[in-house]
């Protein structure tokens, strides 16, 4: 076997996880190889043409604040922008953009091609080489070997992928693209526990064959909110999406053809996501609904393809056509690509450390759908963290781990490794205990100092961040000191005025014209910090209380048999996961409160050995 090259980091797969991982590691100065089956499908949006949404938009902001790419490229290639929940409070507002899929791909490829220390290579990876529990590199289909000190695996739905259309099925990673069969076998051989998941995608229609007059236009925002903190150009809406509904006739067709559904005939064994059900799922599970909504979303400017958001299905093509016939406006529509369901292998993520490294295999990192998640944003967030942590590992530095109260990224990874998944995992804002602090308007305040320290944020970008921070501090001092007189409330500070319900930043500006210089983004930040102040303070106290227990340290390679009272099962689990703090021990699946109490009593008796910090030392300033 020929050794073709040697790298610090090898990233397998160039989807949303792989791209961020490769970007982070090369940006941190490590020689990186990014291997993909097809150069043409780098950063392919396999399903819907949108980035963002609730919790997902939050993730993109966090990726951006740390120096990742997804936000910038979405702003560059977005063709319609909306801020969701704009009538609700700041914590649950999130941006979403329709992207030009082809442009997104090309832009990402272009960006990576011009990144120093990064090599892109087209090949099918068939094996992860491991010796003595440590990763050595990869082998490709033609027998070539690449030596890598760390390997990040991001194969998406390609692991043992099986596409279903009706009762027909064929192996594929994405429609008509070859799956990774050998890689899945290889992971099993390495002793990883594999689970089977399912997802699906709707049909794409030819826009010339749709009668648009039947549907309700859903335009973008008049003043689009960008994803990236560093996007300064004005964003433009170039397309309009449309809203439509199914009807009783549609449902009748679906019910009549359920026997041809691989899902209902029992052919699909993988578990699908509840939040993203196929149309047949919706019809069966909600029989009392006489219609279901769907959106018609253009996949780009230079293409006629229309994505039918809401009609995901794995019914046979002829039934898909019949469904369209039952919907006025789509009755003449031509399918360009059929809807399909796909089953794929994933690794049970409880086998990972918080830095996304496989417990049993040193320097092998997993990110994205392989860890049981769904969604571009969830994948990208993990990819970025895996890339960062692979480099920190090679550097011999402590891992970069975000806590649940610091970032949605922390919530996402903590959920995965401590609870595992039963269905494809999607992030929700309600998964966060400290939602009011995890906002899009303060993602940079929360995370950019880390990104800078890691080497992912350029000096120029960081200077802009510091200027903004100072501007915000000045404005806050002003709001706290400036007093006004309001007819019913008397004299009060602008801050207390803004605290009142139904008073917004624009009302404050009436009294203080100099605040006009603040960007909408900055106004949102100040408004949120003031409106949520009481809650944020309370949460801060709670976090400090909890972290006292969580931060009790466990020495590396500690022998848990020394702790009296632990059950054999607990000792085995603790030895396997080797937690470095009590907080981590708490999150190990199957560790009982009783075991934690035993550990707490044991370590409290001992003197704290040193004050060496395990995480990056950046203070939390907001």
């Amino acid at each position: 076997m020929a050794v073709i090259g040697e790298y610090d980091v090898i990233v397998v797969g160039a989807g949303h996880a792989g791209c961020e991982a490769a970007w982070a590691s090369s940006r941190m100065g490590y020689e990186t190889l990014l291997v993909t089956i097809h150069l043409e499908t780098i950063a392919q949006m396999s399903c819907n043409p949108a980035v963002g949404g609730l919790a997902k938009g939050h993730l993109v902001r966090e990726i951006d604040a740390l120096g990742g790419l997804m936000g910038r490229i979405t702003d560059e290639t977005g063709i319609q922008f909306r801020l969701l929940n704009s009538t609700r409070g700041a914590a649950v507002q999130a941006p979403r953009a329709q992207c030009d899929k082809a442009k997104y791909r090309l832009m990402m490829k272009h960006w990576l091609e011009n990144t120093p220390h990064l090599t892109i290579f087209q090949a099918i990876v068939t094996e992860i080489m491991v010796r003595d529990g440590k990763v050595k590199g990869i082998r490709t289909l033609d027998g070539s070997e690449f030596i890598g000190r760390a390997v990040i695996l991001t194969p998406g739905t390609f692991l043992n992928g099986l596409i279903h259309i009706g009762l027909q099925s064929y192996p594929a990673g994405r429609a008509n693209e070859p799956p990774s069969l050998e890689l899945s076998q290889c992971l099993r051989r390495l002793g990883l526990k594999i689970i089977r998941l399912k997802t699906g995608t709707p049909m794409r229609l030819d826009r010339h064959t749709i009668d648009w007059s039947y549907f309700t236009p859903q335009p973008g925002d008049e003043e689009p909110v960008p994803f990236s903190f560093w996007t300064k150009k004005k964003l433009e809406n170039k397309i309009v999406c449309y809203l439509g509904y199914t009807n009783e006739k549609t449902h009748e067709i679906i019910r009549r053809n359920l026997d041809k559904s691989p899902l209902y005939s029992g052919k699909i064994k993988g578990i699908g996501p509840r939040y993203c059900p196929s149309i047949e799922d919706k019809v069966v599970k909600f029989p009392h609904h006489n219609r279901h909504q769907f959106f018609l979303e253009p996949e780009g400017i230079d293409t006629a393809e229309i994505y039918v958001n809401g009609l995901s299905s794995s019914l046979p093509l002829e039934v898909q056509m019949e469904i369209l016939k039952s919907i006025p406006g789509l009755d003449q529509a031509k399918i360009l690509r059929p809807a399909y369901g796909i089953e794929y292998d994933a690794v049970l993520p409880t086998q990972l450390k918080p830095n996304l490294e496989v417990l049993e295999i040193e320097n092998l990192f997993l990110a994205g759908q392989i860890n049981g998640t769904s969604g571009y944003e969830e994948a990208a967030a993990q990819g970025l963290m895996a890339g960062i942590n692979a480099c920190l590992k090679l550097r011999g530095e402590p891992p970069f781990i975000l806590r649940r109260d610091q970032a949605y990224i922390g919530v996402l990874i903590d959920d995965l490794i401590s609870r595992g998944v039963e269905e494809p995992y999607r992030l929700f804002t309600s998964r966060a205990e400290y939602r009011l602090n995890l906002r899009i308007d303060n993602a940079d305040q929360r995370l950019t100092p880390y990104g800078y320290k890691l080497g992912l944020i350029s000096e120029d970008d960081y200077r802009l961040f510091l200027e903004k921070k100072e501007r915000l501090q000045r404005a806050m001092v002003f709001l706290e000191s400036q007093k006004i007189s309001i007819p019913e409330s008397g004299i009060l500070t602008l801050k207390n005025y803004l605290k009142m319900p139904k008073v917004f930043f624009n009302d404050v500006i009436k009294y203080a014209a100099q605040l006009k210089e603040l960007s909408p983004e900055e106004r949102r930040f100040l408004e949120a910090e003031i409106k949520y102040e009481g809650y944020l303070k309370k949460q801060q106290r709670e976090i400090e209380e909890l972290s006292k227990v969580d931060e009790v340290r466990i020495p590396p390679n500690f022998n848990f048999q020394e702790v009296p009272g632990l059950t054999r099962e607990a000792i085995e689990k603790l030895a396997k996961f080797n937690p470095s703090t009590l907080g981590e021990a708490k999150r190990i699946p199957g560790i009982t409160p009783a075991a934690i109490i035993n550990l707490l009593v044991y370590f409290k008796k001992k003197k704290p050995e040193s004050n060496k910090k395990d995480h990056l030392d950046v203070s939390r300033e907001t």
Binding site: C276, S430, Y535, V601
Partner: protein, 458 residues
């Protein structure tokens, strides 16, 4: 008490009360329970799960036997503490029981702290906090009715009630969360429906909070002060209600100088009666101090028995005392009805206002049953309510009140036009607080609730 929790050692304790009994029970719990018990107990058969084994108690130091006994081994999977446990049943002499404990300690066990067996059952996840509290209440039950209520609580009735209320809150929360998470799905929040549901939960909380009145009366007792002028017969009435000569009585005013406190039981309720010096002009510095303390006690008591002398006309001192009823629940007791009436009944009725007036003769024990019934009715109005669950502890009551407060905030914030995520925050707080009574809330629950209710997806 700040004791370190330790689940590693094996603990031992005598389970039966001190003193001589026909039988006595020793419990051993922990990883070495079987090993330790086997040293002290030599059975006719080997100890096996859930089998009663006959045998003898053995002093492994001197090599001598000292009693016959039976033993039961409960393996960890299904024992009271969810640890390995052995119960030794022997003759009830304190000497024998203490010897068994001494030997168990010698064999490596540790003396159990009070309540430690139940604490372990809780920490090992066999029972929740409410159930753990019920164990103690059951042990200390002062009436069959309280025992029954505590038994139901131990059985999980209150836990299920609390869980049910929490589920209602999580259901409401899931509706709000669904609207937040899926803004494009056209989910409309029915604010009126949400308010109605929250008010329902508040109603249930109110019932539980109110039941604490009864719980308190059953467990700790309601404190009632006997107030009145000197020589109206407070101490005589005190003795009559206690049915024993507790306080010294004499025909001379000012006999009682200090105060006395005693419990009486009426039905299933406990009342702490406080007898004190007559409120009026003192004749002696000691009496003066007694009066000062008496006034203080009267102000702290939960209720008053205001005692008047039927054989004397109402005087200014009486009127001053009557005015105490303005701030507190009170019963007017007209004593000495065996003597000719000197009091103007019409005036008295007017002064009594809404308070009950009971005529008694403490000396001849007339109408005392009527007085007792009135005491139960007036000072524990919850007595006759047929509560499904009764709250016995301040901790529980406080958590229920905090939950109610958070829910009231939800209603207020909703009215005040606050945004949905704030409402959700308050609702979460309410559900969390309620969860503290039994366990913890997990956001996974809310997500599950969302998907069982809504049809959402691409």
């Amino acid at each position: 008490m700040n004791r370190e929790i330790d689940l590693a050692s094996t603990i031992v304790a005598i389970a039966t009360p001190p003193g001589v009994g026909a039988l006595g029970i020793i419990r051993i719990s922990g990883p070495a329970a079987l090993e330790i018990a086997s040293k002290i107990f030599q059975g006719k058969h080997e100890l096996s799960p859930w089998h009663l084994v006959q045998g003898n108690l053995f002093d492994f130091e001197s090599g001598e036997f000292f009693d016959e006994a039976t033993a039961v081994y409960f393996p960890a999977s299904r024992s009271y503490t969810r640890e390995d446990m052995v119960e030794l049943i022997c003759h009830g002499s304190p000497v024998i029981l203490e010897e068994v404990v001494r030997l168990a300690l010698k064999a490596g066990a540790r003396m159990a702290h009070p309540g430690e067996f139940t604490l372990r059952a809780y920490l090992n996840g066999r029972i929740d906090l409410l159930q753990a509290e019920a164990v103690n209440d059951l042990i200390r039950a002062t009436s069959l009715r309280q025992a029954r209520l505590s038994f139901y609580q131990l059985n999980g009735r209150l836990s299920r009630k609390i869980d049910g209320l929490r589920e209602s809150l999580i259901y409401i929360l899931s509706q709000i969360e669904a609207a937040i998470e899926f803004p494009d799905e056209g989910i409309l929040l029915d604010k009126e429906q949400i308010r109605k549901k929250i008010k329902e939960v508040i109603g249930e909380l109110d019932k539980l909070i109110e039941s604490h009145n009864l719980g308190e009366a059953m467990m700790r007792g309601v404190t009632l002060a006997l107030v009145g002028r000197a020589n109206v017969g407070k101490s005589t009435l005190f003795n009559a209600l206690l049915e024993k000569d507790r306080a010294i009585v004499s025909p001379f005013p000012g006999t009682t100088r200090d105060y006395l406190e005693e419990k009486i039981k009426i039905d299933d309720l406990i009342f702490n009666l406080v007898d004190m010096a007559g409120l009026g002009k003192p004749d002696h510095p000691v009496e003066e101090e007694g009066i000062r303390r008496g006034r203080q006690l009267a102000s702290q008591a939960e209720g008053l028995l205001i005692i008047l002398d039927n054989s004397q006309p109402l005087c200014d001192a009486d009127l001053e005392i009557l005015s105490l009823a303005r701030d507190k629940k009170a019963i007017f007791v007209l004593n000495k009805i065996d003597l000719p009436a000197q009091i103007e009944r019409e005036k008295l009725n007017a002064l009594a206002g809404g308070s009950k007036l009971i005529e008694v003769s403490a000396l001849f024990r007339l109408n005392l049953d009527k007085l007792k019934r009135s005491i139960a009715e007036v000072f524990s109005p919850a007595l006759n309510k047929n509560y499904e669950n009764v709250i016995f502890h301040w901790r529980e009551k406080a958590a229920l009140e905090r939950t109610k407060e958070a829910l009231t905030q939800v209603l207020e914030k909703q009215n005040g036009g606050y945004s949905d995520e704030i409402i959700a925050e308050e609702l979460r707080l309410a559900a969390d607080t309620l969860g503290q009574l039994t366990g913890e809330i997990k956001s996974e629950e809310i997500i599950n609730a969302i998907f069982s209710e809504f049809c959402i997806g691409k």
